[in-house]
Structures are given as structure tokens and as C-alpha cells.
Amino acid sequence: MATTVSPDRSQRRLRFGVDTLFLILALIYLLVPLGAMLAFGLSGDSLFSSFQKIFSDKDFYNTLLTSLELAVTATLLSLILITPTAYWVQIRLPKLRVLLEILSLIPFAVPAIVLSLGLLEVYGTPDTLTAIFSFGLVPLLSGPPFTIANTPPLLACAYVIISLPFVYRPIDNSLRALNATVLTEAGQSLGANWWNIFWHVILPNIWPGMISAALLTFSTAMGEYTLASLFGIYTFPNYLNQVGQMDPHEAASLSVFSFILTLICVLAIILLLRRRADAAGSEGGSEIVAIK
């Protein structure tokens, strides 16, 4: 006896098949090059010889540590600089929002090489005009004891600049979605000062935006090559490039490692975000916590 399938079920089967097909194709598109790279990396003198060489190289650890430090510094600096600025503009200076949006888009228009040469010129040989416009800050940082030109702190600041579009937009969107103005007024009506409102009311609610901003800044800084090269700072991408010129198997292995490292960081951030979202959404929330 022939079995008949209802139209709904057959439609669902068709949809399931098509969805799965596209998913498989996308995964193939993404994973095959990675797999090929891994296979090439493992096809050196012996199975894991390239990884052994990498992990026994001091430069690997030094450059990785440098890049991680720069990425973390740039991420923290970006968040600390942009979050309160975006909040303040939204609450007190809404007319300046347009200006801030334009400023945040400028890094897209400025190539990294132009940025680095500009920074090196400004901090390397500051002139009178620069001193005036910077209220004396640039000459102060350019000379001893800071002598900031060509140093990791200046490179971190440069990373902050190039990450500006990726930081401002998600945070601003989060603030707008939150209706930060009304919540601020609610906080004020309950006796909270600006800091308490920002820390206890605003920040917890724009956390997803901040996470997105952090993610993008971190990954941008970890993978940035041009600025670091021009600054003469030996970061992980520079090491990757150097290794690639000497041993393609090592370069391939390093690339896979770099990808996995970034993936782990991204997954960790996403898990953190999801955990916070789940905690906020679940019934039975937490006990009243006295805010100290």
C-alpha cells in the first residue's frame, strides 16, 4: 500500500533539504580552504614538524604576546573612550551626534599607510601649529620621558582610530534602542548621580553593543599588519609574514593557528554575551543586590 505524504510535510521536507544544502555548501566554502591550509601545513618534513618549529620559536610567543597586549589595550581604550562619549552626546548634546557619526566614518576614508605616516610625522617632529591645536599635548608626548613615536602605546592609539567605525556604531545603536535618555531621567528621579546611572543602568543594557565593539576591535588589532610594519613594531602578523617568506608549511600552520585563536576569542565573547542574555531573560532573577 503506497503511503501518501501530506502537502505540509512534503513542503517541510523540501525546505529542510534546501536549507541543509545551502548550509553544507557554505560550510564547504569556508572550511575547505582552511582544511587545505592545515593539510599543507602538516605536510612538511614530518606530520607536526611545522607546528613543533613554531612552538619552539621564541619569536612566536613574543609576537603573539605583543599582539595580544596591543589588541587588549586598543579594545579597552576604545570602549573607555567611546562608550561614555556616545552616552553623553545622546543625553546632553544630541546635535553633536551627526558630527560624531562623521568622525567615526573618517577612518574608512583614510588608508592605514596614510594614518601611520601622519602619526609618525606629528609625533616625530611636532611643529608650532600642532602644539597649538593639541593644547601642548603632542610636544609633551613626543619628547622625553614619553617619546611616544614608533612605540606600542602610539600603535595602540592608532588601532583605536581605525576601529572607531566598529566601536561607535554598535554602542550608539544600543543606546538608541535602550532609550537611554528616559532611563537616565528615571535614575535621576531616584536619586542616582551620573556615575551610578552610567554604571548600574546604562552599561548593563548596552553590554551586547559593547561586546560587538570589543570583538571587532580585538580582531582588527590582532590581524593588523600595515601600521605595525610602518611603526617598526614586531607583531604577530609581521611574524606570520616573515615566516611565510621562509617556510610556506610553517606559514600555513601559523595561519590555521591564528584562525583558531581568533575563533576561540570570538566564541568566548559570544558565550559570555549569551550567558548574560540568558541570565537577564530567565525567570526567578537574582536576589535584590545592595548596590555598594
Binding site: L178, N179, V182, L183, E185, A186, G187, Q188, S189, L190, G191, A192, N193, N196, H200, V201, P204, N205, A280, G281, E283, G284, G285, S286, I288, V289, A290, I291
Partner: protein, 376 residues
């Protein structure tokens, strides 16, 4: 001295005068409503009391103390917002506790007070729910509890029911009033809904274009409006523009007909007036019946045709096209409307005492023309 005093308050937004030299005072424990259309300045007044807007002139005195320049967070006010403004990442209990946490009160006291307030707003057991897990009405109750938690001297409510559906609005406004009376809390309520204002206020300040048109008890505003705006904004009205034929005898010419109105000793013959009649003051007669009533000689009688009949439960609303004076709305008890149908020729009548007569100067004419009066 009154508990809360506004002295000559002024506020500009660019070229717009949002609040135009308003002075009023509120007694302790009073529930005052600021009622008016959008843009009349009522919310601006409230925000100045809360400290979110700085006045460009005038003073605010609370219990004799000038708080005009005081920061919002230092004013002893609690505020309930139209959009609830609950903190989304905190439970209901944590929202209520927030203000007490800011004051660094002991944890045990906070816990106890939260339980009391949840009980007060009828949401005991919902303390651990997050705002998105509560209905709109429940959220607003939590917002009310949160505002009360800091033991404010004045409770400010900015159109708290606007975002709620009609049924919840009615029950929640009664709850707000009950709680306010139970706590003997001084409250300032802002709304554009006249029914809300009439139902729960001790006094209503009717506002238009930055000014207070009339401040009085609800019944007084409804029965004896002192300006054309107050007459037309509060309640449904029928309005006729006429000229006083005899102010002393109370005769007003509207169209080609002479109306009997209360004597107007303060007005002169020939003055242009607005005659306002509430729909519930109007009686409906079949045209054959009108012959007998006209012989009594007292009252105003107009001929018309029923254009629309709307059953509203206890009363039925008729929209009648009059022969000469335009359209008229009449609310008749539903038990008396049998036989009156659309297209029926009728006569309407109302006694002179039902007429509220207001001098119609240019400003009042302009104010009246801006309103959408529910005559149709």
C-alpha cells in the same frame, strides 16, 4: 503657605514660549492634574518640577524652600513615566530597590519595603519577574512602586496611562488614585485625557498655549467653564456663536433665532458670545409633541433631522442637523429613545440654565478653532 508653589514660571524653546508666566499652588496631599492638548506646556511644567528642564524665569518652592536650581536627583520627587522607564536588566524587585540602594539603606529595610510596595500595587509574587515578563499595566504598577520607594514628597506622573489599553487605563487610574489617597501623597498628574482628569483629580488646571485657562475642581470646570477653551476641551459640547440681544434679560441671537440664556450683567448688548450646551442637557421631542411644549414659553427649541444615532449603553447619542444653527449632539437616556431613528424630523430643547455663556474674544476664537471639538 501652600506646599508646592510655582511663581511666574517661564520656559522658552527657541522662539516658542512653552510656559508663559504660570503661577499656581498645590496643597499637601492634593491631586492636581495638568490637562491640555499636545504642546500646551503641561509636560514642560512637570519636567521643570522634576528638575529635567531649567525654567527661564520664575521659582519653584517646595514647603517654603526654593528648589528651582536644585539638581533633579536631589529633589524629593518620585516620577512615573509614560514609557514606564523600568530598568530592563533588573527584576521588578530590583527596580523598586534601586532608589533605596542609591540612598545606601540597609538591605533588610530594602527587602521589607519592596515587599510592602509590591503588596500595595497588588503585585506580590511578581518581584522576581523582569519587565519584559510583565504586562503594560503591571509594568506601570512597578514603576509606581519604584517612584514611591524613595518616599518622595511629591509624586509626578507624566501621562502614565497613555501606553495602555482602555480597560487597563480605567482600572489603573483608580488604583493610582487609591494609592495616592492612602498615602496622602501630593501628586501632579499630566494628561490630555479629560475623562481621566475628571475621574481622579482634586483639582484640574486646564492648559492651552503655555497658559492656565482655568484651575478648579472637576465639577466646577465641567459645569462652569470660565473660558471658551475650558468649555470646549473638557467634555463634549455644542457651541453656538451669537450676539447678545439683551444681556440684562438674557437673550442671545443665534442665526435668525432668539435664544434664552442666563442673564449676563457683566456683558454689554451686542457682545459676541459663545453659548455652550452639554449634550446631556438636551431633550428630544417628536415634532407633534413640540407644539405643546412651545406654549410654555420657556426654553430654547430648535428643529432638526436625526443624522446619526449611536447606542452607548445607558444613553444614546444623536447627531442632529439643525435647520439653521448647524449640527448638534444630544445624549438621551436610552430608555427614552424608542421611535427616534435616522431621518426622523425632531425638535430639540434645552432650558436657559443649561447654557454656559462665554465672551468670545479673538484669542478665545483662535483657541477654539484649534481644537477638534467632538460635536460630530
Amino acid at each position: 503657605m501652600s506646599f508646592l508653589v510655582f511663581e511666574d514660571m517661564v520656559k522658552y524653546f527657541g522662539k516658542l514660549t512653552a510656559v508663559d508666566h504660570i503661577s499656581l499652588s498645590i496643597e499637601q496631599g492634593e491631586f492636581l492634574t495638568l490637562l491640555g492638548p499636545s504642546g500646551c506646556g503641561k509636560t514642560t511644567m512637570l519636567r521643570m518640577v522634576a528638575g529635567f528642564e531649567q525654567p527661564d524665569g520664575g521659582r519653584i518652592l517646595l514647603d517654603g524652600e526654593d528648589i528651582t536650581q536644585r539638581a533633579a536627583r536631589k529633589r524629593p520627587m518620585g516620577m512615573v513615566f509614560q514609557s514606564y522607564a523600568l530598568f530592563p536588566h533588573m527584576t521588578a524587585e530590583q527596580n523598586i530597590a534601586f532608589g533605596m540602594n542609591m540612598k545606601k539603606l540597609p538591605s533588610e529595610h530594602i527587602r521589607k519595603r519592596c515587599a510592602e510596595l509590591l503588596e500595595l500595587v497588588d503585585l506580590a509574587g511578581r518581584g522576581r519577574h523582569y519587565p519584559h515578563q510583565l504586562s503594560g499595566g503591571q509594568q506601570q504598577r512597578i514603576a509606581l512602586a519604584r517612584a514611591l520607594a524613595v518616599e518622595p514628597k511629591v509624586l509626578l506622573l507624566d501621562e502614565p496611562l497613555s501606553a495602555l489599553d482602555a480597560r487597563v487605563r480605567v482600572s489603573l487610574r483608580n488604583e493610582i488614585r487609591r494609592i495616592q489617597q492612602q498615602l496622602a501623597m501630593t501628586a501632579i498628574y499630566v494628561t490630555h485625557d479629560q475623562e481621566e482628569a475628571l475621574a481622579i483629580s482634586d483639582r484640574i488646571a486646564v492648559m492651552a498655549k503655555g497658559k492656565v485657562e482655568q484651575i478648579d475642581q472637576p465639577e466646577e470646570i465641567y459645569r462652569n467653564p470660565r473660558t471658551a477653551f475650558a468649555a470646549t476641551f473638557v467634555g463634549t459640547t455644542n457651541q453656538f456663536t451669537g450676539t447678545l440681544d439683551s444681556a440684562r434679560e438674557g437673550l442671545c441671537r443665534i442665526g435668525n433665532q432668539l435664544f434664552q440664556i442666563p442673564a449676563q450683567p457683566t456683558l454689554a448688548d451686542g457682545a459676541v458670545v459663545l453659548v455652550v450646551v452639554r449634550p446631556e442637557e438636551i431633550a428630544l421631542h417628536a415634532t407633534d409633541e413640540a407644539v405643546d411644549t412651545a406654549q410654555n414659553g420657556r426654553g430654547n427649541y430648535l428643529d432638526g433631522v436625526i443624522e446619526l444615532r449611536t447606542f452607548l449603553g445607558p444613553f444614546t447619542r444623536f447627531h442632529i442637523q439643525l435647520s439653521e444653527q448647524g449640527k448638534l449632539t444630544a445624549d438621551i437616556p436610552s430608555r427614552l429613545v424608542e421611535g427616534y431613528t435616522v431621518g426622523h424630523r425632531v425638535q430639540v430643547s434645552f432650558p436657559p440654565e443649561a447654557c454656559q455663556v462665554l465672551p468670545l474674544d479673538q484669542a478665545s476664537q483662535a483657541a477654539s478653532s484649534l481644537l477638534e471639538v467632538e460635536a460630530i
